[in-house]
Symmetry: C2
Subunit: 174 residues, 2 copies
DNA sequence: CAAAACAATTTTAAGCTTGAAATTTCTCTG
DNA sequence: CAGAGAAATTTCAAGCTTAAAATTGTTTTG
């Protein structure tokens, strides 16, 4: 890609000449921050997708779904998975279908409420996931390796503030 | 992906020396940071998608494509757009098809090289985009409003460091 | 108890995305 | 100048994603 210009890599419809603090109704600083955030997560995410496909012939959604189930040894209700992954219920349906076909997941109907589907990792699925999770952790570690520990800590804190801001705005406005 | 419930747990990051004493293959701090970053950008991105659909019956990919063209009054070659948006060429083909049908884009074949397609915003497309861009800036501003300016600045700097780390790792390993 | 209301999930229709294969059009080499 | 090779784009097959409608099952209410 095109090197060191901040906006050469991601969607970059913002004017690069912006200063950090400007007139009250100028939103350029926030836009630039958002673009930089998006660039970072897009870079990491595409690389993770690429490697999941290359090394495991799998996808990020499947990995994420299995990751949710890994921490629920007794399985989890479909709706709960959907909420935790922040994706639509219909989306989960499709993913579960494929992962069940391939033997990674088991699915049961709750006897006391037959609307409810409970899914869980099979032993095979768990073994596969553990391989993937180990590699995934290595990838992230490599990608983040140039960041000093202190910077990691600062980022964690600042992102926590951002997350609170976003959630507050969502709760208020929409 | 990822509900990011790690707010409950105390950051084990902050102390670099402590971290150095941990097991060599413990990547939890990086993973937690990555998940938090991903949560933030997913939250913002889904909200932007939702509002583009509700207010303009449009999508984020279309918006991004028009944003690229907004700064290129004389139009842009398809391949260039593809690179800048970091998406596959085939993807651009589909987007351009639809946006041309709807009158937002014009497309010309370069006379001197008939392989090359040049696309540009039509006056209508430009007017539409400007409306969308203004609203988009408002949304981002609202979502980020709870962040103090100083935090925004720190975040910009730390994300720049992260981006450098990711790009360096991609250049080296990938 | 039957009907309405509610809940969990699936289906549907539409659009996005990708990698790989195919196509079209140049460009370069012998 | 022909044919090889490269470049720009499109096509294709497969999978992801969503909102909205439909389905199935449970609970509440008249």
């Amino acid at each position: 890609m095109t090197g060191d210009d901040e906006f050469a890599i991601a969607p970059d419809w913002v004017d690069g000449e912006t200063k950090a603090l400007e007139a009250p109704h100028d939103h350029r600083a926030e836009l630039r921050l958002w673009l930089r955030l998006l660039t970072c997560s897009t870079l990491v995410e595409s690389e993770v997708r690429r490697r999941l496909r290359e090394e495991f012939d799998s996808t990020l959604p499947r990995f994420d779904l299995m990751a949710q189930l890994e921490r629920a040894p007794d399985g989890m209700v479909l709706g709960e998975v959907s909420k935790r992954m922040m994706v639509s219920p219909g989306n989960i349906t499709v993913l579960v279908e494929r992962l069940t076909e391939s033997g990674h997941l088991s699915r049961t109907t709750l006897p006391t409420d037959r609307r409810v589907q409970i899914i869980a990792l099979t032993p095979f699925g768990r073994a596969e996931f553990e391989k993937m999770a180990a590699r995934h952790a290595d990838w992230i570690s490599d990608l983040f390796a140039g960041l000093e520990p202190v910077d990691g800590g600062v980022l964690m804190d600042e992102l926590a503030k951002l997350k609170r801001s976003v959630i507050a705005s969502l709760a208020k406005g929409g």
